[in-house]
Amino acid sequence: MARQPEGPPPAPSVQKLRIRYAKRGRLRFASHRDLARTLERALRRAQVPMAFSAGFSPHPKISYLGAAPTGAASEAEYVEIGVSVRCDPEALRLALDAALPPDVAVLECVEAGEGTGSLADRIDTSVWRVELPGVTLAELRPAVEAFLASDVVTVAKRTKNGLKDIDARAAVTSASASEDVGCAILHVVVRQGTPAVRPDDVLAALVAVAGLRPPLPPRAVREAQGRLDDNGTVADPLGPDRAAHARCQGAHTAV
């Protein structure tokens, strides 16, 4: 006979919380899987009352949304968790932030608003800032202009099945150049999709259209994620949850 877990099933999820966090500094070299493990252990250390799936290998209820690539920093990573006891979102944010390494910052935590739909549906675009050490604005600007003037820019992307040609242009909805001390900065807004166009692909496209080869490895930061509206602005994906809360204030228990 197949064994069944003894005792009552795990406590159900009574509250969904949506979290925005940043990965910075040295932890930009962490992969999505590295961060997921780190987050799960931090939730245990912070004694967050996680809800678990049933069965012999129960998993905490956590859903991750599209993660920034290894090597890229981010100010806008999102994760959704289910808890078995209601928590005060701000107390949870502070406890989790304290349990995570200093280079991972928990920036926001809100309760999922009733009837506001899924978080994934509110994210289709990334806003990137890419520092290019050793590149001047005078070099970057014409490259960006040449890129925007092209309809299609084919670049080779490394995938599990070897190199594959993709178009790096169509997914880019806007791009511009600015300058900081010692480096030019590329600002680029990219629609998420398949195949994914990432900052590396846009940089490869700048090599293709203008021969722009940064002398040092660039540093990319995802500044925001959200839904691109018709005016070309990216909406805060936690906005609908906050709006739902302003309408109805629930009773909260502390973490």
């Binding site: 962490a30 252990r41 490895p217």
Partner: protein, 650 residues
């Protein structure tokens, strides 16, 4: 040295991270090089008199969970006058970029140059890490040969089980430390601190002479080896009379006094052990004759049930791990294990925390324990280690269990809901024939038949995991002829054929094995003498490193190097591996003392050949292995009669 546009050379102890960071964007799994793990420590350079770089000579994912390194890291950092940082083997992709850009080997904590430290301590769990030592020295800018170093270079120190015969690496390590590290690292720190405070009198040689007088520290350069006409060692003699003739190992008594690691490191990167470990006892007197660990770590010293309970509690709180492994050489032998398993299972019930025991002896009691520890969790796999295929060979290795008991134990596991049982075996054991190995197939078939019946299910599985036996120093098998790679490969082939003979049963049996070649090289390095150092250096110069990884290991590179480098001495690879030694041959490690009488080991070797067993001295009278009287130690076991205090609810 080119710096390629990055900031220039840095001051002693300064971070190399700004020069490293641009390289990290170009390598695989860069997270392993950035440090900042939970519970890692970073002390100001100037605050410490003695700086230790602790290295595990394998990839980060293998080295980070190593208990020994974690313990010493904490013990040293607790001292106000010492600082310890960690470093691991660097993969070839980053090593190439570091050489290209003039970035030397660094620690992951402070990204400080390894060559800036006073001591580089390397822990060798296996001899296959030796080429990684040479790569690390070269990448650090430390001369490979001890003779070429001056007082500006770190003292290179080897520890771990392989240090009980450090002769093959004696050209490259300044000192080898025998036995438990907790106390000796403090003694070494005191010696180095005093020598530095006095203005480094007598230079490096004087420092090494002082270290040679620390109990447990062996300094190879103060011992000369001469050889006889037949290639054997004629004599090992001291070159100065202020160092000991024999070097005895260190033994930590009362493990409860040393509850380390208190704050286990939690990596961001994935590692080979995604759990926390608590060492529940050290040493083993079961007397398995192949087992070097069981011979050199005697006597048995138990941590008490309450000591274990508080380490589990503190460790879980400090790490957030969801699994705890109760570690030792034979965990079910702890005198309070039944109560410990029950009380820990009670304590963590409903917290999604799982408890596990490493591979265990074949014993029905172990199934009971495993049931208790997995009370409400998944029962996927249970591992037993009969080691020898036939009852006869199990008597030879002194790991006696009858075939009936083995089948009964495994059947009990299936009946209790375990779906998969793993069985560990060795082949190439002394006196072994094809028939001994073929019995593994019969056993596996019987296990599956009985398991299907007991569980009423067809999906039970049995995995046979088998590797070639490598004779090790300080064991009764140190005189034995190692089986050749061809012998091992032949036996594995006939075993596979036998298992596959009946497909209806064979498809429920998995066979995992390693071919015989890496074991032959491990054998060369395990029982080698100083002449083998040239082989190691040649292999590294020819590009060899990460020899524990099948995709990096090249048997041909090793055999070519061995043939050419050993020929001038009139010996060869077979001479070191497949040759049986005689009773009075001087063995390369005879002047290193694990406490075991050579006469006891020889008698036990003769008993093995007669298939005679020896009982465990924890439950039967002492059989005079020699360790306790030589080392001034004693068996420390319970039961204590104490129980775990319930924790305050969270």
């Amino acid at each position: 040295m080119t710096t390629g546009g990055y900031p220039g050379p840095v001051m002693t102890g300064e971070s190399l991270y700004p020069r490293l960071e641009p390289l990290l964007a170009q390598v695989q799994k860069p997270i392993q090089y950035v440090g900042g793990e939970l519970n890692s420590q970073l002390k100001p350079w100037e605050d410490a008199a003695v700086h230790w770089a602790l290295m595990y000579p394998d990839a980060y994912e293998v080295g980070l969970p190593n208990q020994g390194l974690m313990i010493l890291y904490e013990v040293l950092n607790e001292r106000p006058d010492a600082l310890a940082e960690r470093t691991y083997a660097v993969w070839p992709d980053l090593a190439a970029l570091m050489r290209e850009n003039g970035v030397p080997k660094f620690t992951v904590d402070g990204h400080r140059a390894v060559r800036d430290f006073d001591v580089l301590g390397v822990s060798f769990a296996t001899e296959l890490g030796y080429t990684n030592l040479l790569e690390a020295l070269d990448l650090s800018g430390i001369p490979l040969h001890t003779a070429d170093r001056d007082e500006s270079h770190p003292i290179v120190l080897a520890g771990g089980h392989a240090a009980f015969n450090p002769e093959p690496v004696s050209d490259f390590v300044d000192c080898a430390v025998l036995g438990d590290g907790e106390q000796v690292v403090g003694d070494i720190t005191d010696v180095v601190a005093a020598w530095k405070a006095q203005g480094r009198p007598g230079g490096r040689v004087e420092l090494l002479a002082r270290l040679a007088r620390v109990e447990g520290v062996y300094v190879p350069r103060f011992y000369a080896v001469s050889y006889a006409g037949d290639g054997t060692i004629a004599e090992v003699s001291r070159t100065r009379d202020d160092v000991p003739a024999r070097i005895g190992k260190r033994t930590v008594m009362d493990l409860d006094e040393w509850p380390y690691p208190k704050q286990p490191l939690v990596p961001l990167a994935e590692s080979v052990h995604e759990r926390m470990s608590v060492e529940i006892f050290r040493g083993c007197t079961r007397g398995c004759r192949f087992c070097q660990a069981g011979m050199i770590t005697r006597p048995v010293r138990e941590r008490t049930i309450t000591g274990i309970g508080s380490m589990v509690d503190a460790g879980l709180k400090a790490t957030g791990y969801e699994e705890v492994g109760l570690l030792s050489l034979s965990s079910a032998d702890h005198s309070e294990i039944g109560q410990l398993a029950k009380e820990l299972a009670d304590r963590y019930e409903g917290t999604n925390t799982s408890l596990s025991l490493p591979s265990t002896r074949v014993d029905a009691f172990n199934v009971t324990l495993a049931n208790e520890l997995s009370r409400n969790g998944r029962r996927s796999g249970l591992t037993f280690a009969p080691e020898g295929g036939s009852e006869r060979i199990r008597r030879v290795i002194n790991k006696t269990v009858s075939k009936e008991d083995l089948v009964r134990t495994v059947t009990t596991a299936y009946a209790n809901g375990w779906r998969q049982v793993k069985l560990y075996f060795m082949c190439g054991l002394p006196t072994e024939t094809d028939e001994d190995v073929l019995e593994i197939a019969e056993l596996a078939v019987e296990v599956i038949r009985a398991g299907r019946e007991a569980s009423g299910q067809k999906d039970v599985r049995c995995t046979v995991s088998i590797g070639g036996f490598v004779p090790k120093p300080h064991t009764p098998f140190q005189w034995a002829a190692q089986a050749s790679a061809e012998t091992i490969d032949h036996r594995l082939r006939v075993l596979r054929q036998a298992i596959n003979a009946d497909r209806r049963i064979g498809r429920s049996i998995g066979l995992r094995y390693h071919d015989g070649k890496p074991g032959v090289i491990e054998g060369l390095l395990s029982r080698g003498d100083r002449r083998v150092g040239r082989v190691i250096e040649r292999v590294w110069r020819d590009g060899g490193q990460f020899d524990g990884w099948s995709e990096h290991f090249s048997f041909e590179r090793w055999t070519t190097a061995a043939a050419e480098e050993l020929a001038p001495f009139g010996v060869d690879l077979d001479w070191f591996t497949t040759r049986e030694r005689t009773e009075h041959e001087v063995l390369p490690w005879d002047h290193l003392d694990a406490g075991l009488d050579k006469e006891f080991l020889w008698d036990d070797w003769q008993d093995a050949l007669k298939e005679e067993e020896v009982a465990d001295c924890r439950w039967t009278p002492c059989y005079d292995c020699g360790v306790c009287p030589t080392m001034g130690t004693e068996i420390q076991i319970g039961p204590t009669g104490r129980s775990l205090i319930p924790l305050a609810p969270i």
